[in-house]
Symmetry: C2
Subunit: 267 residues, 2 copies
C-alpha cells in the first residue's frame, strides 16, 4: 500500500524554485468566464504560453504583458506540430527557467494528450502540475440545461472519443452500457461510421441524439435529431468539430445488448 500524504510528491510544482515549471492549464470549453480563478492566475504569471487552435483569443488576452505567446497549432489529423515536438518545446522552455503554461481546451485530463507532456517533463525532472478545467461535455450539458446523470435513467456518464483510430476495435460492441449517458468528443467528422456502430450495438434508430458544437462559445450550435438522421442533420446545419455528441442508452436496451454480446462471442 502506498499512502500519498503529500500531493507535491506527485506534482512538485512548488518544490523547485530554482528551475522552471510547467502548468497544464484547462482553458475550459470556450467562454472566457468559464476559466477557473487558478487558470487565470497561472496565465497572469506565465513567462510563456503554449496554445493551439481551440483556445479563444479572449483567453490568451489574460496572459500578462511579459508572457510570450507560442502557437502549437496541432490540428486533428495534421502533423505540422506532432505531440513529440510540442513536448520538446515545452520542456525546453521550462529548462530555461521559465514558468510555462500549456493551455489545453476543456480539462487537461480528458482527451488532452497530457500523458505525453507529463512524461517528457518528468524525464527532465521538471515540476509539472495540472490545473483542472471545465470539460466540453459539462459545458454542453449546461447549455442544454440537461444533466448528464439522472436517477433511474442515466446512472453513469461515459466520455468517449471517436476520432476514428479505433473504428474496427473488437471491443466496440461492449461499449454501450444500458442506463448510461454518453458524450462523444470530436466525432463529427465520422458520423456515418458512428451511426452504423451505434445501430449495430442495438441503439434504436429513433434514439434522440444531441450535438453541441463549440459549447459555451459565441459560435455555439446545437442540433437535436433521431440517430437515423444524425449525419444528414449535422451536415445540413454545418456543425463541425469541436463538438460533443450526446445520447442516453435506455435501460431497456439490456436484453438487446446481452443478445448482441452472446452473438459476437460465438461468431
Amino acid at each position: 500500500m502506498t499512502l500519498i500524504a503529500d500531493p507535491s510528491r506527485l506534482s512538485p510544482a512548488d518544490a523547485c524554485p530554482v528551475t522552471g515549471r510547467i502548468s497544464l492549464v484547462g482553458a475550459g470549453p470556450g467562454a472566457v468566464d468559464l476559466l477557473t480563478l487558478r487558470a487565470v492566475q497561472r496565465l497572469t504569471e506565465a513567462d510563456v504560453v503554449f496554445y493551439d487552435r481551440l483556445v479563444d483569443p479572449e483567453v490568451l488576452a489574460l496572459a500578462g504583458p511579459q508572457a510570450e505567446l507560442r502557437y502549437v497549432g496541432k490540428d486533428v489529423g495534421a502533423n505540422a506540430w506532432p505531440q513529440a515536438r510540442i513536448s520538446t518545446e515545452i520542456t525546453a522552455a521550462a529548462l530555461m527557467g521559465k514558468r510555462v503554461v500549456r493551455l489545453k481546451s476543456g480539462d487537461p485530463s480528458i482527451f488532452g494528450r497530457a500523458a505525453e507532456e507529463i512524461e517528457a517533463a518528468r524525464q527532465c525532472d521538471i515540476p509539472i502540475e495540472i490545473v483542472p478545467g471545465v470539460t466540453a461535455a459539462c459545458a454542453a450539458a449546461a447549455s442544454l440545461c440537461r444533466p448528464l446523470t439522472e436517477r433511474g435513467r442515466a446512472r453513469q456518464v461515459v466520455f468517449a472519443s471517436a476520432t476514428g483510430q479505433e473504428v474496427n476495435d473488437p471491443c466496440l460492441p461492449a461499449r454501450l452500457v444500458p442506463g448510461s449517458s454518453y458524450a462523444l468528443y470530436m466525432a463529427v467528422h465520422r458520423l456515418e461510421a458512428l451511426v452504423q456502430e451505434l445501430l449495430t450495438e442495438g441503439l434504436a434508430p429513433d434514439t434522440t441524439v444531441t450535438v453541441v458544437a463549440a459549447a459555451s462559445s459565441q459560435n455555439e450550435q446545437m442540433v437535436e435529431c433521431a440517430l437515423s438522421s444524425l449525419e444528414r442533420d449535422v451536415r445540413r446545419n454545418g456543425l463541425t468539430n469541436p463538438a460533443i455528441i450526446m445520447f442516453t442508452v435506455p435501460l431497456h436496451l439490456r436484453g438487446a445488448a446481452t443478445k448482441a454480446r452472446v452473438t459476437s462471442a460465438f461468431a
Copy 2:
C-alpha cells in the same frame, strides 16, 4: 429534426427580467480558486444562496453582502432536507423575484440531482441555467497529475456513482469496459460490496486503485493500493466521502469480460 439555434430557449436565464431566476452553480471540487469566473459572478450578484455541507466556507464568502445564505444540508442517506423540499424552497425564492444561486459541489450535471430542480423550476416557468464547474474526478486526476484518458490505455472515462441503491442491479456485470478508466463517486462507504463486484467482473486482485478524498481541498487525502486491500487501506487511513475511487480496466480484460457475459447470459 429540431434545430436549437438559440440556447435561451432551453435556459432562458436572461429572457425574463421581471421575475427571479435560478442558477445551478458548480462550486467546483473544493478549492476556492477552482471556481469559474462565471460562478464567482453569479455569487456576487445573488440575492439568496442555497448551499449544502460539501461547499467550502471560503466559497460562500464570495457571495455579496446582500446575499442571504441558506443551508440545505442534505447528507447522503439523510432526509432532513429531502430533494423535494429543496426544490420547493428554491422555486419559492425565485417566484419572489430573487436571483437564486443553488451551489452544487463539483459540476451540477454530474451526480448533482439537478434534474429535479430543473423540473420544479420549469413547472413554475422560472428561468433556470446551469453554470458548469470542475467535477471532482477531474480535480482528483489533476492532484495525481495523472490524466483520465491515455492513448492505447484508457480510451474512455466513466463517471459512475456507487451510492448503494443499485447494488443488485443485473446490469452491473456489463459495466466494466476494457480500456476504460473509471471514477466512482461517493463509494467509500460500501467498499466491501464494491470490491466483490469488481472482482466478480474480472478485475484482477492486484489492480491498482487510487482513492482521492476531498480532492483539491486542504483536507485532501490519497491512498493507492491493490484492489484486494482497498477496504483495509482506506479504513486504516481514515478516508471518507466525498471521495473518488479510480482505476483503469486493462485492455486484456477483454477475454475475461466476454466470458463473464456469456456465462451470465446462460445462467
